[in-house]
Amino acid sequence: MTNNFSTEHLLGIKELIPEDISLIFQVADNFKEVINRPLKKVPSLRDVTVANLFFENSTRTKLSFELAEKRLSADVINFSSSESSVKKGESLVDTVNNILAMKVDMIVLRHPNPGAAKFLSERVDSKIINAGDGTHEHPTQALLDSYSIREKYGDVKNKKVVIVGDILHSRVALSNIFCLQKLGAKVSVCGPPTLIPKYITSLDVEVTYNLEEALQWCDVAMMLRIQLERQGKSGSHNVGYFPTLREYAMQYGLTKKLLDKVNKDIIVMHPGPINRGIEISSDVADSGQSIILSQVENGVAIRMAVLYLLAGFAE
């Protein structure tokens, strides 16, 4: 196993090589053991200051990053755009440079614009971790998803994964496609034609519009959240890409009835937050086949591993 990490920032899964991902998983294994100890903290990042810059709402990712940073003994400052000078018209680079002037070593950035993390990495002298940039990538989510599949099945290679739902607006879908393919899994997407981007087949991904067929094929069903905030304002329930939420739930919602009909040992994942009764029914989300809560636990270990590896170089 190599101990070289090929990148200085974590901007997206696309830039990583498979060896980087294996290294992150290997280190995450050790952190998973650490966070299950009675004393869950290690001092590795005690001289590192991390700024969590969230220009978009987030609960779980922000908490998960903050917990990971604190478990590594880093100093943490939090920033969210709703309560900041961004409202007064300050640009992203200016905001970040002001924060860096306070001697911050790493930045965790969530931003509504695709490419924001890359833009920043080229302009400021700090290590950047992308925590979601618009509809582009969400690398740590994809890493924790693949890590959870690896934990369940032992390996990701040759596993069949279907990503169901709003592929068009989903950074989780894009990062997962890159990550799963780099680890040797087969990926297909399923959803209403309006929510599947045209170019998706160029990523070597199968497309199906029938959820039952997709479930027959797969080992893992990754349900995505219907992003109501990105659906536009037309139609009922603010939905513009499909007639109604009820129709979506009937066609593409994962229910116990459907899973029983397929009668296969499929594991069910969801990046959260869940719209219960829309993309996934409550009895599936809370069933033994669902690994949604271990995804959340693994999220902390994966983020600790990423922070640890990126901070680990001599300056």
Binding site: N3, F5, D29, E33, P38, V42, S44, V48, G312
Partner: protein, 178 residues
């Protein structure tokens, strides 16, 4: 690079047996004593000692492994990040007498980190250090072993390598001089 074998297989095993006898002398039935091997290379010695104590002397001894990587003081001082090894400790250390085991003691920094790592699992009553090779006069911190297999006098340019049958095919200790 010149190499010299300083401990051959027969002698090597004799030394380990002697270390086990010293442990029994001080810890009797091992009721409140546990042994912990330090990753990555100390675990071979800990396993060997554990094997002798349980199989030959029929003692019930708990054996764990600890990785000190996250507690090292040279993190962010190398070109590459330090890659951790696994920690396996399925018993609490609260109130126990702990024998910390490593193959080579040199600067003492690994042992310092190991003791920090150990504290996450409780407050031991007492901690002792057992090493196979003590490279004297190279210490950076005030740490001394309680049980020593062999003391060697070395200079900074030299390197001591302990090889194990389990991983390297033969039990021996080699001194490299560049």
């Amino acid at each position: 690079m010149k190499e010299r074998v300083i401990l051959e297989s027969d002698q090597f095993n004799l030394v380990i047996k002697r270390l086990c006898c010293e442990l029994i002398e001080n810890h009797n039935d091992f009721l409140s004593t546990v042994i912990i091997g330090l990753q990555p290379r100390g675990i071979f010695l800990a396993n060997r000692i554990h094997q002798i104590l349980t199989e030959h002397y029929k003692l019930d001894v708990k054996n764990g492994t600890i990785d000190a990587t996250f507690f090292r003081d040279d993190f962010r001082r190398n070109e590459n990040p330090l890659i951790p090894n696994s920690t396996k400790l399925d018993f609490a250390l609260e109130g126990k007498r702990v024998i910390l085991i490593d193959d080579v003691l040199y600067t003492g920094r690994t042992i310092r980190a190991g003791m920090d790592a150990m504290l996450a699992f409780g407050r031991p009553a007492k901690v002792e250090l057992l090493v196979l090779i003590d490279r004297q006069f190279g210490r950076h911190v005030p740490i001394q072993p309680d049980y020593t297999g062999l003391k060697v006098d070395t200079i900074e340019e030299q390197r001591v390598n302990v090889q194990w049958q389990e991983s390297d095919g033969k039990d021996k200790v080699i001194l490299f001089t560049s």
